[in-house]
């Protein structure tokens, strides 16, 4: 998979029936509304084809037979047909709505479910915004086009057929003459629609560049001001908005010229009927018959003119719909691509979850890992941890600490080597089992919109209110939560953004604690909490951690000191291992790291502390 895959894709030129067949397979549950819709399309086309004939009959009755009663009858027929049409219109919109909304729902559901299974390696390569567009706008486009395409396909072809039949029955030679307009009409429509599609794409592409520019202008406003780049930036932007003007004009002009040409071509049909039909009527008159069997009546002439006048409409609509289908093809491809992606990490066929409740033993055996080929993050890594142990991972950024945690959680799988839980390769167990044993608190705490209570309960869905409060108390979050506007019922906002980072960390810690995990993982979990609070938390969660295995990534001395074992990770390997005292005495990596990093942080703590005191 290439990295540019999610950038504005180049669209395919031609319709790909195989792709659409596969996409349509998802629409199977909506066969009935779609079939009903198609049927309604045929009925509407039939009414459309009959109405000019009825007006023709009215004229003939009125002019030749002078029968007022007949006129009334035909007028009522007209009204009846119109009513049938209105009912059909109501019916096909409802059916289209059923199919479109239901189909969109199904596609979204399937897409969402697939996203829940896909591995992080998939997410790493795609921005969240890109994924959101797949589930929202792409699903809308694909599900929206299908019923209307089907309707116009059926309606358009039936109408063309119906009108042709009606005209041929009325007068074969005149009908054939009018129909000669059709081929140039069709060719012209196809050509123009293809060009319109191209200009529309150019407009869309430029538009996304404009969006990016505005984003940059706002995000970088201070830099722009500091560099005094306002004018230079504006000149660059004006080039872009000028480009947009050019493409939009090209698109608008093309659209403005298309319809008049099509209508004029349509009027050629009307002109032909008037000319040829007029001659026929004239000839008939000269021959002396009021209703010549071979000639044309006025009613027929008027009917013909009407047919010729709307002959172009189905042709034009069909061309437009095909273009829309083509435009939606990229969206269909992307959705189908998403649904076709197989998760890299998934349960093997023969997973067997162990009966035993706890995890007593974790082992990394010769584990290697690389996010990108050739750039190993972990290299032949070995680690054993027993229940009751707290293991601290320290080392420079990019050394592989977070990767170890991600592998343990099976967010990724080792490229070589094994990870064993209780002596069994974890790939032989289900993901759900493993992940329900974990309590993870990550570097950037993520909360979901909803109340504080709901967020803590996310760790264990059946936890009672008392248990929620207890967990909060344990991590020292109870105090601040009660201080919020509505206490535990306070809405945390989107992504938890109504809370500070420190508060979010405490809530996510409570969420992990309430899960009563077998393996506890804290990746910089308390970095934004002040030292005093952190000490309190430390003491409290020790009781929770008793008998469990915990992995802690932290910078703070207080956190690291209390660990049973400290591993210094550098360039994907353990370079030092031991207790705090042992490592300090060794005066190696840990000592140096401590000097550089911990001292700086301690000092910052002190500064903040002094600021608060006074």
């Amino acid at each position: 998979m290439s990295d540019i895959e999610f950038q504005e894709e180049e669209y395919r030129r031609r319709l790909d029936p195989r792709l659409w067949r596969r996409v349509l397979a998802h629409a199977r549950p909506y066969r009935r509304p779609l079939a009903a819709l198609a049927l309604a399309g045929v009925v509407v086309a039939a009414v459309d084809a009959l109405l000019p004939r009825v007006t023709g009959l009215v004229i003939d009755q009125a002019t030749m037979h002078g029968g007022g009663g007949q006129v009334l009858r035909y007028s009522l027929d007209y009204l009846g047909l119109v009513t049938v049409m209105a009912v059909m219109v109501w019916f096909f919109i409802v059916m289209a709505g059923r199919a479109a909304t239901g189909f969109a729902y199904d596609l979204r559901r399937a897409g969402f479910a697939r996203l829940q299974e896909l591995s992080f390696s998939f997410y790493d390569r795609r921005p969240v915004g890109w994924l959101i567009s797949r589930i929202t706008s792409d699903c809308d486009r694909v599900s929206g086009i299908i019923p209307w395409f089907l309707l116009d396909l059926v309606w358009g072809t039936s109408l063309l057929a119906g009108v042709s039949v009606m005209m041929l029955r009325l007068n074969v030679s005149l009908a054939l003459l009018v129909m000669t307009v059709m081929p140039p009409l069709a060719i012209l429509s196809v050509v123009f629609q293809a060009r319109l599609l191209r200009t529309q794409r150019a407009v869309r592409k430029t538009n996304s560049k404009i969006t990016a520019s505005f984003n940059e202008a706002i995000m970088g406003v201070r830099t722009t001001k500091a560099l005094v780049r306002e004018e230079a930036n504006l000149v660059e932007f004006q080039a872009l908005s000028g480009e947009m003007y050019g493409y939009s004009m090209r698109n608008a002009l093309l659209a403005a010229i298309y319809l008049p040409i099509v209508i004029t071509l349509g009027s050629v049909g009307v002109g032909l009927s008037l000319w040829k039909g007029g001659i026929d009527i004239g000839t008939a008159r000269i021959l002396g018959g009021a209703t010549p069997a071979t000639g044309l009546s006025f009613g027929t002439l008027v009917a013909f003119i009407q047919y010729a006048a709307f002959f172009y409409i189905p042709v034009q609509e069909l061309a437009e719909r095909f273009t829309q289908l083509q435009a939606a093809q990229a969206a269909a491809e992307r959705i189908q691509g998403l649904l076709d992606t197989v998760p890299e990490i998934r349960d093997a066929e023969d997973v067997a979850d162990p009966r035993e409740k706890g995890i007593n033993h974790v082992e990394f055996r010769n584990v290697s890992f690389a996010y990108k080929e050739g750039q190993a993050v972990l290299d032949d890594f070995n680690l054993r941890a027993r229940a009751g142990e707290t293991i601290a991972l320290v080392g420079p950024t990019g050394g592989g600490k977070s990767t170890i945690v991600s592998l343990l959680c099976r967010f990724y799988e080792p490229t070589a080597g094994l990870i064993l839980l209780n002596g069994v390769d974890y790939k032989k167990r289900s993901l759900a089992w493993l992940q329900s044993q974990l309590g993870v608190v990550l570097q950037t705490p993520h909360l979901f919109s909803g109340s504080v209570k709901e967020n803590i309960r996310y760790g264990r869905l059946d936890a009672t209110d008392d248990e929620v409060i207890e967990a909060a108390r344990l991590v020292n979050a109870d105090g601040f939560i009660r201080g919020l506007d509505s206490g535990y019922a306070t809405d945390v906002g989107e992504g938890g953004n109504r809370l500070s980072t420190g508060q979010k960390q405490l809530v996510s810690l409570a969420r992990a604690v309430i899960a009563r995990p077998q393996i506890f993982v804290m990746d910089e979990a308390t970095s934004s909490v002040d030292t005093e609070t952190e000490r309190l938390i430390q003491a409290a969660i020790e009781t929770v951690l008793r008998g469990r295995i915990s992995f802690v990534i932290a910078h703070r001395l207080s956190t690291i000191r209390s660990a049973d074992r400290i591993l210094v990770i550098e360039k994907g390997r353990i370079v030092e291992e031991g207790t705090h005292e042992e490592l300090i005495r060794r005066r190696g990596h840990y000592h140096r790291l401590y000097m550089n990093q911990f001292a700086r942080e301690e000092q910052q703590q002190v500064l903040e502390g002094i600021a608060r005191e006074e």
């Binding site: 007209y78 059923r98 909304t101 404009i210 500091a226 930036n233 008027v302 967010f411 869905l461 006074e614």
Partner: protein
Amino acid sequence: MSSKDSKYRMIWGLMEGFRLRYAAAIGALVLGSCFMYMVPLIPQIVIDGVLSGPGGGGKPVSALVRRAVAVGGGREYLHAHLWIPAALLVLLTAIAGCFTYLRGRWSAMASEGIVRHVRDRLYDQLQHLPCGYHDKAETGDQVQRCTSDVETLRQFLANQVVEIGRAVIMMAVPIPLMLALDPRMTLVSILILPPIVIFSIVFFGRVRHAFKQVDVAEGRMTGTLQENLTGIRVVRAFARQDYESEKFDARNSTHRDLDYRLYKLMAWYWASSDLMCMSQKALVVAAGGYLLATGRLQVGAFYFFLAVVNMFIWPVRMMGRILTELGKATVSIGRIGAILMHPRETNPSEEERRDRVDGMGPGGAIPSHSASGGDEGFSGTRNGEIVFERVRFRHGGERHIVDGISVRIPAGQTVALLGPSGSGKSTIVNLLLRFYDPDAGTIRIDGRDITRMERKAVRSQIAVVMQEPFLYSKTLGENIRLARQDAAEHEVVEAASAACVHDAILEFEKGYDTLVGERGVTLSGGQRQRVALARALLGSSPILILDDALSAVDTETESMILDALRARRGRHTSILIAHRLSTLMQADWILVLDRGRVIQAGTHENLLAVDGLYRRLWEIQNEVESGLLDTATG
């Protein structure tokens, strides 16, 4: 109401310079419709005046038809040359088509031109709005105003403005023609028109909330989706996929149901308005047929009415829709206007700038200036001397973030700022850059009060590197060169080397031509800081500010950068904000800040000599080091 008025006035203002094009478009529209309505006259004239012959139909032919036939060369001639009216019909359609094209062209020129102008103005405005505005505004919302709201405006300008005109003209133009032909039929032809218009307007007014509900439901669904995707690690860590799927499913199905309800509402609308429109035609057929049968109408005239009703009835039923869109457009215009109307960053008037010169005459009373013992004084030179005089700044809050700071930084010297977060360090920098203006006190650069200088003039004196620097989506080379466009190749490399980023840049496949940002490479925080530093060093500004600008750079690289900076000492007046004492101690002068005040000032040695925060910090650093050994031995 008045706010609505002002919105329309704003639209009118935006049309400035494009009004002529709109007038032309409307002219083309009127002419186009006139020709369009003449088209069905041709078959009418042919049928009634040529084919039927005198007394052939019912009622005697109208004067209009008679005259038209006479102009055409008489009945006999036209009868023998029926291709003439046929060709005329095509020609008239083509002429109407030309006007339709011109209408489209001119209205596109007007609307696209206005929108281009609006985009440029928005972009320009955003760059000139004060930082205080950007602090409060949300980026996503601002971008939306500049893109989707502008698109709504464009649609309004391109389609609705002309569409409203079209609906009116489509009705107005044919009525005199119809009246001339047959007043009774005219009445019958427009009988159902008012109910259709009223129905359309009432319906769209009523269903507006249904549209809104669907929008809200869609927003909720997208929100849930986004939260799930950004929090996917948490979801996995707690194995909550099923729970999440249920949550999404609830939003997804609510959206589906509301959307389906909207479809059903629209089904009623289209079906009933179709029924009304078609009934209007049925009415014409019935009445026309009756008049025809009783000899009071000609066949051609009957055809004409049928064709004309067909032409004006369809646009009319779109009235309600257009009005709904109009409502949406006014909302968007309000949102765009909020940006465009916001006052920009102020600049001193000519007069104020002159005032300063007067004040600066010989013996000009600037206490700090003489107090500073200025060796150069004010002589128009640009050296980068900075003076803060009792500067206070509140930034909208209760507390003063900068609370009476007075400092003089002689040209060429380096001053370090130290203090806890919130002590006002960055605010001092922001005030110096005139991102904000102080509530009280004055700031001078080379003796000039910066509030009396153009903001751009102030800023071009200063090169600043921020903690989270912003790089444009250009190449690395272009980003560095922004500071000085005409810099030579070797100068760029020199600056990059001083910032210790040259080697890192060469490691990229395309070196200095590597594109930054979404479409290019993602740089680490430390790399971004160093590129921004290179940019700052390349410029020739007399003042250099590093606002915690090396926080993401590792210690070794940092000391290399500091060495490079030391080699350039004297070229800039520098302000250094950092957390590491080892970084700060090299400055000529150190200020310790707390709550917007300077609580200690002096050189490293001075400050160590007195009991105070600085010495305590220094001791703590040493304590930490020895404490390390304590734990090791203890």
